[in-house]
Symmetry: C2
Subunit: 138 residues, 2 copies
């Protein structure tokens, strides 16, 4: 059992009108804007079966998060009692991996337009997956 610290390889970057944390809606309150997912050259083969209209899970690296935080006020609301980060969707956590369910609106080469993405401009993209098994979600 290794205790290595794996190194991520960002595969692209988010281009969004959300520039600052203060621009971003609080988790669960409202949707995010449309944004571009701009993939780096070399990932075309991995992207080729994505389709317009499809819902996907986007994994990002929330590079402006705090990694040494283990409890937070949910939705950044100081009136709510502190909760352990693993029971919240806070960006602040030891491995700030963002998980976003978005819909593909357009595809232009290695650029994907998606709707409803709460991620800041410049956020590194880590992965794209199909939405979790429908059967299990019922």
């Amino acid at each position: 059992m290794t205790e290595e610290r794996p190194l991520l390889r960002p595969i692209g970057t988010v281009e969004s009108s959300l520039r600052e944390k203060s621009d971003a809606p609080k988790q669960g309150e409202e949707g995010g804007p449309e944004a571009w997912l701009v993939f780096h050259a070399g990932y075309e083969e991995g992207l080729r079966d994505l389709e317009v209209g499809e819902e996907i899970l986007l994994l990002t690296w929330l590079d402006r998060a705090e990694r040494d935080v283990l409890s937070v006020h949910p939705r950044d609301d100081a009136r709510r009692p502190l909760r352990g980060v693993f029971s919240t969707r806070s960006a602040d956590r030891p491995n700030p991996i963002g998980l976003h369910r978005v819909t593909v609106r357009a595809i232009e080469g290695t650029r994907l337009r998606v709707s409803d993405l709460e991620a800041l401009h410049g956020t590194p993209i880590l992965d794209v997956k199909p939405v979790l098994d429908r059967v299990r979600e019922r």
Copy 2:
């Protein structure tokens, strides 16, 4: 916009009866076994609001995956045509982050017993999140 390669910090390890890739059921075909999530010391504060019976999203680092693969035969079935990895749930992908929806069955300190986990023994744990917004899943 940085092009850094972020370093993950595993927060725990999976203890499972699945020892080899050949033991694991193919994605979507059947559920996985019960397993223990064994968190490293120091993460108690982050875990404290998790409850027995709750469904959670577990993020893992699939450390036995191939990172240079961009298309695969779905479910490892050579009869199925190759698909771009970002349209599959294959473990093989540039950033092999596993996303597992599991149910907490027991909590013993920093050990969580969960059901239905398709992850090999020794797999590093990266994060735990609440299940995605119910509203969006409808």
